[in-house]
Structures are given as C-alpha cells and as structure tokens.
C-alpha cells in the first residue's frame, strides 16, 4: 500500500496534495490518503480528498493538531504509519513537509528521498522485498544534473515530490470512503508553540497582474547594474522583479521577489536576466506564456524551460535589446 500524507490549513486542502496523490497513483493502485489536523479541519479536508480514486481517506484528528507543530505531527503520523505499515509514504515537498517529514522518517528509522521530480517502476531490485523497486528522480547540483536513486532497508520508504512535478488534474477521480481516526498525541510532548500565520505589511506591488516582467538574478552582479534591467523593463512596458538572492542582498525590495517564498506570476512575457533557474524560483514563474533567458552559462537550468534564449553577456545584450526596441 502507498500512503499519501496530504496537507491542510484550517480545513482547506493544499493543492500540492493532489499532485502527491497523482504521483502515488502512478506508483500503484493500492493508495490510501491521510490528512492530520483538528477533527473539524481534518474532516473537511478528507471530504474533499474523497473525490480521488483511492482505497480510503483517513481524517486523523486531535485537538493538539489544530495548529501545526513538527512535534505534534511527527507523533501522530509515526503512530499512524506504524499501524498501517505501508510500503511507501508519499508527500508533496511543501515547507510543512520539509519541517516534519525528515524527522518522521528518522523516528521510524526508514529511508527517505526528497524533492523528487519523477518515479520509475522496475528499478534495480533493492533486495528489501516488501517495499518494491522504484527509482526516484531528483535534481542535484543546482538542477544541472538529475539522479535516479533507489531506496533500501525496511519499509516504508518515504518520498517527497517537487511542487509542479505532477499535475493535480492528472489525479484519477473516484469516490473514496472516509474514515475518522483519533490521532495518538501526547500534547505534553509538543515542545513548539505556534502562533497564527501572518503576512508582512501589505504587498504594494502585485506582480501577478503584470503582463510583462523583467527579472534579475545573481548574474546582475551588483546593485548598480539593476538600472540595466529597469531600462529594458521600461522599453518593454514591464515590471521589474528578481530571484531571492537579489532581494536578500537588498538590491530590490522583498515584495519584488518571484518564487516559492515570494510571488507566483504568469505573465505574457518573462525575461530572466542572469537567473540560473533554481526550482525555488521556477515554481513562481513557469506559468509564463513566453519565457526568455539570457545567461552566460549554457548549462543553466533556466534554459530547460525557456522558449527563447541567448547564451552570452547580459551587460552587452540587454542594452542592445533596449536599442532594438527603440529603433
């Protein structure tokens, strides 16, 4: 059996959960889904998950799981996974998964592979019998190479899948029975106390509405060069945005950051200047209709998703583009 750990907040399902279910359905037909939270929240999310073609959806409820904590979720899910003894446990590679899942695998002393983009059946046998043979594909070395990895040791094996690696709408639909289960949690053993999530001061710039975006990455080299991107943006009628390192360095305000920790955009045109294409950035912009990459490194992963590209020096190419646009 393949167990998917879905994710919800205040009863609202995280859409990446569907992607994890799609991955699990590709691995086999015996799929179960569990979602943890307060009774009400887990129940609401489970009801939504019942639309998937899976054997069962379990709402794993406890008052102490109302606010997410790593300790609470590890306790509850360690007990649940132990009782269900699946062959594989599949999760979406969200920030919450990153917070608790490695600890869950460590507590159960089981193998884990994270941030996978694909899974292939019939990998070399691991000799572990029960877990079956799969090769998991994951990016390594800034996404410049991919590795096929097989897991070994006793089941279950844990795998998390990168956001966007599977399509939520690829989930086979059905009508699954929903079961409510009381989570085994000792609230006195939860060490973290979590406050309500909040947003920083309201974002003044809504990049999701921009038709065109010129975005800069490390290749811009210094704050004094940001104006080169601004000139191109002006000539294109575009907004200026950036990848995380640029905002970390304070060269552009945080509110102009695109990616998993910033804004998600889908403009008509996205021009990536000196952006390598780390997945944390790509998840925020891969929905753009036309993607242009200008980068001196021909191996940069950004060229994997670009429609048009120039391998070269952005400090020469961008001013030439501005001239061509004005000419």
């Amino acid at each position: 059996m393949i167990l998917v750990i879905a994710e919800q907040q205040h009863g609202k399902l995280n859409r990446a959960s569907w992607e994890a279910i799609a991955a699990a359905q590709q691995m086999g037909s015996d799929v179960k889904v569990v979602v943890a939270g307060s009774d009400a929240d887990a129940g609401a999310a489970a009801k939504e998950l019942a639309a998937a073609d899976v054997k069962e959806v379990v709402a794993l409820g406890h008052d102490a799981l109302g606010a997410y904590t790593a300790d609470g979720f590890v306790q509850a899910l360690a007990a649940f996974v132990g009782a269900e003894s699946p062959a594989h446990v599949v999760l979406p590679h969200t920030y919450q998964t990153r917070d608790f899942a490695p600890r869950l695998a460590a507590r159960l002393d089981r193998a884990m592979i994270t941030d996978c983009t694909a899974v292939k059946a019939g990998g070399p046998s691991t000799g572990s019998g029960q877990a079956g043979a799969f090769a998991f594909t994951r990016p390594m070395f800034q996404g410049k190479v991919a590795a096929d990895v097989v897991l070994d040791g006793p089941a279950p094996h844990f795998a998390t899948f990168q956001i966007g690696a599977f399509r939520a709408d690829a989930v086979k639909k059905g009508s699954a029975p929903v079961r409510s289960a009381a989570a085994a949690v000792d609230a006195s053993q939860i060490r973290q106390k979590a406050e309500e999530p909040f947003r920083e001061a309201k974002q003044a710039v809504d990049l999701s509405q921009a038709e065109r975006i010129v975005s800069v990455g490390r290749g811009i080299k210094g704050q004094e060069h940001i104006q080169i991107a601004q000139q191109l943006a002006e000539a294109l009628g575009a907004e200026v945005a950036a990848s995380r390192p640029i905002c970390d360095a304070g060269w552009l305000p945080m509110e102009r950051q695109i990616g998993s920790s910033g804004q998600t955009v889908a403009p008509k045109l996205y021009v990536a200047l000196g952006i390598s294409g780390a997945i944390q950035h790509v998840v925020g912009m891969k929905g753009a209709r036309t993607i242009v990459a200008i980068n001196k490194d021909a191996d940069a992963p950004i060229f994997e998703i670009a429609d048009y590209g120039i391998v070269g020096d952005l400090f020469e190419i961008v001013p030439a583009m501005v001239a061509a646009l004005k000419g």
Binding site: A106, V145, D152, Q192, R218, I317, A324
Partner: protein, 259 residues
C-alpha cells in the same frame, strides 16, 4: 550560550558540473569549492547571538579533508573553534549518514542551540531536521528571525522565539525551550566577511578532527546521474550581442507576439 553551527562545503555555482564515467557522481576532483550559502547565514546569526548573549560558537563540518577550507573561513569570520567530522565516505553521504556523523560529534558538546542552513544546492534539505531527532531536541525550519530570552522558559538556556517562513510571503512565530536545532533561511541577516585580523587569528584556533566510520549499510544508492532532458525546445538566438538582441526582439514581436 553555546552555539554549534553545521556548515557544508559545496561546489561553486560557477563550476561546470560534469558527470563521471560511471555516471554515479560528478567529476568533482577538479571542482572549486565554497561555503554553502544558507550555512553562511546560519554562522552569521550565531555570531550575532554570541555578541548579544555571550558564549561560544563552534563550527562543525562533515566531509573529507578538503572541508577544512570552509572551516578556516568560518573561524576567520569569528567562530571560536571547530570540529571536523572526518571521513572520505561523507563526500557523497545521504542526509541520514551525514546527520548521524554530525550528531555523534555534537552530542558531547551539549550545545544550547544548533544552527544550520535550510538546504544546500546539492543536498536534501533534511540534515538539520534529522539531526534534531538524533540529538533528541526540538527544531524549527526556514527561520528568518531568532530571539533568545535566557531568563524565561523551562529549558537549560531559556526560551527561543523564531520567525518561520511559510510559502507565498506568510510567516509564523514559534516558541520553544532550548536546546533546539534551527535551519536558517538565506537573507535572515547581512553577512560579514573575514577581516585580515580574523584570517590571522583563525590560524591559532582549534580544529578538532573526529574520525567517522562509514555506516554498515547504505539506505540509498544513486543508480545513474545524467543531464535532464529539456521540457521545452529552447530557440537559442545566435550572433553578436547586437545581432542576437535584434533577432530576439523580432521573434518576440512577430513569432511570440509578446510585445
């Protein structure tokens, strides 16, 4: 307060990644190396906490002999002493092997706080969290602010309040008692760089080498490393910068109709 910072040596972003002949790893014999960026932010945060609360900052790095490069850099930036968890097998270790090796070296130090970067470019984003389990202490991840109140809470070193980054611009405050492990997000602070005085001073600082034996059995094995196939066919525009720029603008106007 006693703070341990786990740092990793990674290949530089400029290094051209090439797969080895056996297709099981990259040809890193000729790689250039640097300190993993989020770990640099973790080190900086530790140095700031020490400046505020006093105590000691110990850097720990697991890997072959080459990792002393980043250990010396951390000492030059202000760490007080270092532990090198030494083993050739650690160059390609998975997160569980790395966390086990680090935990064995860190446990006897009994630190109040352990910091590390949230991930590395070649890694798994697991080591910090698994390490917390191995050390039996609380943890929190992707941290953008660390506040320590030494006089409150029930832990050995007081109470910790951290700002956890969530997705899409959301954050959350989480409190817990020390000791704890935190994984630090890039951008939490502004990095300092080593001064000449720091570099000279680092030469006198202690680096303790702790040998680490390979585990009896590995739980994961890379069967193949390769350059991923492209999702899209990129139209690469050639020519001098002026020619390429002109052609690109033409394509964006006439073919993509994006401008």
């Amino acid at each position: 307060m006693k703070i341990v910072v786990c740092i990793k040596q990674v290949v530089t972003r400029e290094w051209q990644v090439r797969v080895n002949d056996a297709k099981t790893w990259v040809r890193d014999q000729d790689a250039s190396w640097e300190l993993n960026e989020p770990d640099a932010y973790a080190l900086e945060e530790a140095l700031r906490l020490k400046e505020k609360h006093g105590g000691e900052v110990i850097v720990v790095s697991a890997g072959p002999a080459r990792v002393t490069q980043v250990i010396r850099e951390a000492l030059a930036r202000g760490a007080d002493r270092a532990i090198h968890v030494d083993g050739e097998h650690l160059a390609q270790a998975d997160a569980f092997v790395a966390a086990d090796a680090l935990a064995a070296a860190i446990k006897p130090e009994n630190p109040d706080l352990v910091l590390t970067g949230l991930q590395s470019d070649q890694g798994f984003a697991q080591v910090g969290v698994v390490l917390a389990e191995k050390l039996g202490v609380a943890h929190s991840t992707i941290i953008m602010d660390v506040q320590v109140n030494p006089s409150t809470g029930s832990g050995q070193g007081g109470e910790l309040k951290v700002k956890r980054e969530l997705e899409g611009g959301w954050f959350q405050w989480v409190t817990m008692a020390l000791p704890a492990v935190l994984t630090i997000q890039s951008g939490i602070n502004t990095l300092r760089y080593a001064t000449l005085k720091g570099i000279m001073g680092a030469k006198k600082k202690e680096i303790r080498h702790v040998p680490s034996a390979p585990p009896a059995a590995l739980r994961q094995r890379i069967t193949s490393i390769y350059v991923p196939s492209k999702a899209k066919q990129t139209k690469l525009v050639q020519g001098t910068p002026a020619e390429a720029a002109k052609e690109l603008v033409k394509l964006l106007r006439d073919e993509a109709r994006a401008i």
